[in-house]
Amino acid sequence: MTDRDSAQAALTRRFMGALAFFALIMAACFGYLAPELENIRQMTAAANDSAASVTIQLNDISARKVRDAADRNLFYALEKDGFVGDQNRLNAARILEKLRVRHHISGLEYQIDPVETISILRQPENTGEKMSVSKISLGMRGFLDRDLRDFTAAVKRGLPGYLTITDIEMEKLETPSDELLMQIGAGKGTELLKGSVQFLWQAVQINPQEDGL
């Protein structure tokens, strides 16, 4: 091989080496580094998007906290009013007697039926709440129809839980005569009206009903 041939061969070798090196660098740049960079940038963008989404959810939570606080207060108020929990019949008897005196009811008889538990369900989950329902029947006698009406309203307001009126009857016993009016004037009260009221006494059970109440 002459010097020129060897020089040409060396030139070819250098060219091939440079080509291989260039190909290696290009492969490294465009086959690995650039896709890797793009991948990391996409991951960063995804993380930022996720952070933004969580931030929005946190803002939603702040609004939800306000709503929850209002609902909790409302719930606690209901709980305080006796709508949540057990029906305390002894306490109900005390309240009825106190109201009878306050509203000048001369005669009061009442009956509280055994508690029935009904389920208030939500479809389609078929889950819901259990509610204790007792029927209260009041028989009362009084002097004025207003007394009976006020007493009924007071019972509805005063008893713990929620009372729904299902039936009211009021009937005049007799027409006041002159003699009766004189007795009334002497302070000897008498009964001119009788009435009956039926309530549904309702409270939501959050625990099983305890015995002895």
Binding site: L33, T44, T55, Q57, L58, T166, I168, E171
Partner: protein
Amino acid sequence: MAPLPNMEGVAQRLFALKRFVLLVGDAGAMIARLSGSRVVAHQFLDGDLEDNVRRAKLTLAEFPKYPVILLFDVLGQSYRRDRLPPVNMLDRPKIVARKLEALFPGIEFKGGLRLGPTEGDIRGFDYLFAAVSTSPEIVAWQAMLGQIENPTSDVRLLPVESVKLLHRLMHKSNGNGNGNGARKGQWNILISQHRTGGFRQIVTRGHTLAIARMTSGFVDIESPGEIAALLQREIGATIDYITRLGFDRAEGLNAVFIGRSDIGATLKNVQLPVRSLTAFTPAEAQYKTGITGASDDSGHFADLLHAAWGGSRFLPALSIWPQKIRRQRALALAQSWGTRMLAAASVAGFLYGANLLWEIRRAEAEYSLADSSRGALQQRYDAEITKLDGGTMPIARMRDIIAIHAQLAAADVDLNRLYNAIGAGLSGNAKLRSLDIEIEQPVTVLAPAPDQSGPGGVQSEPAPVEADIILNLDLSSFRDAEQAVGEAGRMTRALRLALPDMQIKILRQPLRILPGDTLTVKPGENVLAFSGEDRTAKIQLIGRVK
């Protein structure tokens, strides 16, 4: 149209390629080292042939990497103008090689220059074919090229390469700076004084070489007048010759002279048979052509100018190097430049890769920051959610209970409104004996909750509440039955006005006058006198109370 800039000159200045130009003439040789279009060094070789070759080898060995361009300016040049048939680009080299072999058989240095399409009806292309006849001097210089380490870049002919030099000088002398050719059909002549030969005449017609003549043997004559007289005769002979090629003496010949200044001045004074004459010294000519360093010590000879012009061109006007060797050289050049380009591209790629790596590091740091930020936010969110769902009872259940209570409250009937309506309807003569109210409560249900954060399962519209109300009216204060019946009717109408959503009807009248009743009147009985009967009326109200 504005002339294009001289891109080749720009490239020469930009790259400043370094090379040797070996100008071989009949009276010696000259070797010049170029950097772009600048002559860095030169050496006249005017001894005997063997000594010239030896000195040339020594000079070339100083820079063995520099390529050599061989530029012939010898008498043994042959030119033929001929036509080739129109063939495609791939076949053209073969046709040219065949033509050259036919025109100049056995000669190694030969080549063809395409001049343009053939004028007239015959299709084809005009070519200028040229060759350098083999001589002992040519063989010696050719042998030297094989012995030196420097690569041979090209072999060219001075008259062909200097055609553009003539045009450049013509335009520069006319004040036109573009330096690009002459008017079509215009005859021009370049006369230059050479140390390696004598007086070289290059005659062009338009843009192409017409003839080239060398007048040697002026070595012993120093007188400008004598030289001018001799040149006058030589130019006359040249004109005679080109007249046979179509030169019109009436049109005239534009001449440019490069050489000694006193000869140039004398030529201007003598009556040369040319239309115009412009004389330059080599120093002036190099200034006009953008070449530097092309003035030798004497300042008389144009060898350096021609060598610098013909050797600094990237692409020759005509290469007479054998095609096979030219291809090998082209391959070597392509590999050499390709290696450099690849190296440069690799460096750029490496820098790009480094930049990518740096970007990856930065992106990783950004990702790490973003991910940790997202993680912290997610933790805070989870904590808030746990806090929200914590407590003695889930908020959803509280909302259910609230919803149940809301439904019960919505179903509650305001009895005072009923009492007021009834009280307002009663007149002074009618008394309410009894009142019976039955209320039908709607069923309490929970609506499906859309989501946990919503306000709970409250129904959008409360269910209607129906009631059945019976009023017993005491009408005993009426003595006239018709008035009592009227009072019941009036009461009914008053209730209808007060409670428009309810259906109100009279179930019983003080007299049995309703369609379902049996009215019995005994003889002598005045039913309208209203005696002995139960003087009451019963009114029923059915319907929606809320």
